[in-house]
Subunit: 130 residues, 2 copies
DNA sequence: CTAAGGGTTCCAGCAACTGGAAGGTCAAGC
DNA sequence: GCTTGACCTTCCAGTTGCTGGAACCCTTAG
C-alpha cells in the first residue's frame, strides 16, 4: 500500500502520516524506488491514532496509548488512568469555557448594540471590576 | 514607568509586553539609555488586552477590539458583533468537549481497570464503530 | 514525448508566547 | 572605585501538531 491509499483509508492526510513517521509512530518499509510501503497493521495504527486525536488526546498521550495497545501484557488499569486524567483535563477546559461564555453573554446582554458609542463590553474590558 | 513596573501592574510578563510591541499593539517611547518608557495609557491598553485574552479573544480579535476601544466615533454594535461571534465559537468548543467527555466517560465505565488486558477503551480506538 | 498524477525531501510558517544567551545600565554597599 | 545584583536590551530558538510550498523523481497513458 502506498501512502495515498493509506491516507484515503485512514482519513489522515499524507503530510500528517509522514509527520507521524518523523515522530516515531510508524516505521514503514521502503521499496526500491524510495516509496513507503504500508502493511495493514500500520493502517490500523494510523486509524487508532486518528481516533485518539479526535478524542482530544495529545501526541504524547497517543504515544502512551499506542504503547499500551501494542503491549499484550499490560493491564487495562493503565489505559483507564490515562483516559481518566484526560477526562479531568477536558472538564477543566469546559468549565473555563463556560465561565467565559457566561461573562461574555452577560456583557452582550448589557450592550445596546446600536450606533451610540457607550459599550459595556469595552467598559468592562478597560475597567478593573474583575 | 519601566517595563518591569508595567508588567507588575498589568499582570502581563515583560516578555509578552515586548512581544505585544513587536506585533504593533504598543509603541512605547525610549529614553536615552534605550529603556522603554510607558505612559498610563499604555498600561491601560495592556490591561485591556490582558482581560480580552483571558476571555479567550485571540490576537486579531484583540486588535479589532482595541481599535474600536480607541475609536470614539464607533457604535457599540461592532463590539457586540465581535463578542457574539466569539460566544458562538466558545459554544462550539464546549459542545465538542462535552461529546469527547461523554464518549470517554462511557468507555472508562466499561473498562475493568485491573490487571487483565481486556480494555474497551483500546478496543474502541482500534475498531471501526464510529 | 509529454503530461498527469503519484511519490520523495527539506524548509518555512501558523499562534502566542517563552526561555536563554550575551550584553548594557543603574543604584547600593564596601 | 569596584563589585554585586537587579534591572534592561536584542536576537535566536523552541513549543504543538501539523500544513504549504518548492524542487525533484517515478510511473503510466495517450
Amino acid at each position: 500500500m502506498n501512502i495515498g491509499e493509506v491516507a484515503e483509508r485512514s482519513g489522515i492526510p499524507t503530510k500528517t502520516i509522514r509527520y507521524y513517521e518523523d515522530i516515531g509512530f510508524l516505521h514503514p518499509k521502503r521499496n526500491e524506488n524510495g516509496y513507503r510501503i504500508f502493511e495493514e497493521t500500520e493502517l490500523h495504527k494510523l486509524t487508532f491514532i486518528g481516533r485518539a486525536r479526535s478524542l482530544g488526546f495529545n501526541i504524547e498521550e497517543c504515544r502512551a496509548l499506542l504503547a499500551l495497545y501494542e503491549d499484550k501484557e499490560r493491564g487495562s488499569s493503565d489505559v483507564k488512568r490515562i483516559a481518566a486524567e484526560h477526562v479531568r483535563e477536558i472538564e477543566a477546559k469546559i468549565s473555563d469555557l463556560l465561565a467565559m461564555r457566561d461573562t461574555l453573554t452577560h456583557l452582550i446582554n448589557a450592550c445596546a448594540g446600536d450606533h451610540r458609542p457607550d459599550c459595556p463590553i469595552l467598559d468592562s474590558l478597560s475597567n478593573a471590576k474583575h
